[in-house]
């Protein structure tokens, strides 16, 4: 449960008013481009940073108290492992800090870290390190698991194993919040996707809905003096925005939208069709206020 969260680093406003209520058992993806404020939101959630305004409550507790009672576990985006311990020793030490940890060997197995359990933590590859970091979060067996870009540095197989494990965790009734850049990941594994751009939540809903809005392409065309609501009804168009003389259409099906646009609005010129990056697709929302939602 986050309300009215704000955090600035000097002149940079990293998080600008985020409100989120997450129900127990939900799997929520924080989706957003680089610098969107995902990690900052997670830091605020875990009590690693203090908000300038707003508040965080986890299971009715302040973050520090929830963390202290072992209700929360997590994997941060950055951070290396501590030296002079083997992987197994490290996982065991972290497990010992929690009231209800999973068995160490079981976690080493599920994360695939068993293969190098007796190696020193400093002698691992990037992906192996990432798996151990995941093991540290998992062994805690917390009610809320927070993961910041958990699959960065993992190969395809490791990614698949990772998500299979997460499915198991989710089906055990745990709440999971993870940050990612990848719409596909958010779509495949989250019940709910929160799209964060420039420190604000620009969309929040079931993955399919977000996918329709972001996964498509945008069409940009010079087309002065028409009614936005009219182009909005074209097939395949999700939202329409005006940028001076130009209109920008976010499309779920750009082919259908383009055909219809040319047919119904022969005056349209300078047409561009682009794959919409997360940032591009939602820049309009953030800078100009709202787009006109499709009916």
């Amino acid at each position: 449960m986050l309300s009215g969260l704000r955090k600035s680093y000097g002149p940079i406003e990293a998080v600008r008013g985020v409100d989120l209520a997450i129900a127990p058992g939900e799997t929520v993806a924080l989706l957003g481009p680089n610098g969107a404020g995902k990690s900052t939101t997670i830091d605020l959630m875990l009590g690693l940073a203090r908000p300038d305004a707003g508040s965080v409550s986890l299971f009715g507790l302040a973050p520090a108290d929830a963390v202290a009672s072992g209700l929360v576990g997590g994997m941060l985006q950055t951070g290396s492992l501590v030296e002079h311990l083997s992987v197994r020793e490290l996982v065991a030490v972290v497990a010992s800090l929690y009231p209800d940890p999973l068995p160490v060997d079981e976690v080493l197995d599920t994360t695939g870290a068993a293969a190098y359990a007796d190696q020193q933590t400093t002698k691992l590859s990037g992906g192996q390190t990432q798996r151990v970091r995941f093991a540290l979060a998992l062994v805690a067996n917390p009610d809320l698991l927070v993961l910041d870009e958990p699959t960065a540095a993992l190969d395809v197989e490791a990614r698949r194993d990772f998500w299979a494990t997460m499915r198991g965790v989710a089906s055990g009734g745990k709440t999971i919040v993870f940050a990612t850049h990848y719409l596909e990941e958010a779509d495949a594994y989250a019940d709910r996707v929160v799209l964060l751009v420039r420190g604000q939540v620009v969309a929040d809903g079931p993955a399919t809905e977000i996918k329709a809005r972001v996964g498509g392409r945008t069409i940009r065309a010079t087309l002065p003096s028409i009614d936005l609501a009219e182009v909005c009804t074209l097939p395949g168009v999700v939202t329409a925005d005006r940028r001076g003389d130009a209109i920008v259409l976010s499309c779920s099906n750009s082919d259908a939208a383009l055909r219809a646009l040319l047919e119904d609005f022969p005056a349209a010129r300078d047409i561009e069709v682009r794959g919409a990056g997360l940032e591009e697709a939602f820049l309009e929302f953030v800078t100009d206020g709202r787009g006109v939602p499709a009916p």
Binding site: D43, S80, V93, L97
Partner: protein, 243 residues
């Protein structure tokens, strides 16, 4: 239970760090064997040179051991490990306590190694004298344990070497660990305000009468411990608010 496991892991980590051990134990030992060995038959301030020099090395070596143990927090902050720990139920107090316990173990090892070297250079003391000396040195190290934790939060890993080396050398020099400060009254009086002066004197307790240590020592140690502790808390709070 969780505290014991964590503490054990920290101790294991400290003693697996070979290079760290080698340098902390090595420097005072080599210096003692070289200088103490060469001047074995002389005497200084009314006691055998070897005993005099061993005491100085005990004070300096244990000080360096305990300060650098705390200062290693700096590296754990840099690599993000402390952030990872802050999202576990581990208490901040347990984290710091473990660092200080490791520092004390390392200091104790340094002291014992120097004692053994002292035996080889014909330093002979009664058991009660060895014990009093050790006990007083361990108490004298308290402000330095806190200083280590403070430096761990103030100094980045890349400047840790010079910072710890420079500060401990200054304390050792002014405290008289490397030899008498000379006859300047002002300097000698000023040195009495330093915790290292009392640490060095603790290591030389056999020189003093049974009335030693005076209340002054406890006051100086307490003031330094409280002041450094207060600073460490401030720096820690600044650090965790900003991250």
């Amino acid at each position: 239970m969780s505290k014991a496991t964590y503490l054990r892991a920290e101790i294991v980590r400290t003693f697996r760090n070979r290079r760290f051990l080698l340098f902390s134990l090595g420097f005072p030992l080599v210096l003692f064997l070289a200088v103490g060995g060469a001047n074995k038959d002389r005497s200084l301030s009314g006691i055998g040179f070897a005993l005099y020099y061993m005491s100085g090395m005990v004070a300096w070596g244990s000080m360096v051991a305990i300060v650098s143990s705390g200062a290693r927090i700096s590296t754990e902050r840099q690599t993000g490990w402390t952030r990872q720990l802050r999202i576990t139920p581990l208490r901040t107090r347990t984290y710091f306590t473990a660092k200080i316990v490791c520092g004390y173990l390392l200091a104790l090892l340094t002291i014992v190694v120097l004692y053994v070297a002292g035996l080889f250079l014909d330093v002979h003391l009664r058991v009660s004298e060895w014990a009093t000396m050790t006990g007083l040195v361990l108490v004298g190290l308290v402000p330095f344990a806190v200083l280590g934790v403070l430096l761990g939060h103030l100094v980045k890993p890349d400047s840790l070497g010079p910072a710890v080396g420079g500060i401990t050398s200054l304390f050792a020099l002014l405290g008289g660990a490397w030899g008498p400060l000379g006859s300047s009254r002002v300097l000698t009086d000023a040195a009495k305000c330093l915790p290292s002066f009392w640490l060095v004197q603790s290591a030389k307790v056999v020189l003093h009468g049974p009335a030693w240590p005076p209340a002054e020592e406890w006051v100086v140690l307490a003031v330094w411990t409280l002041a450094l502790g207060r600073l460490a808390v401030l720096v820690y709070q600044r650090d965790t608010a900003r991250v």
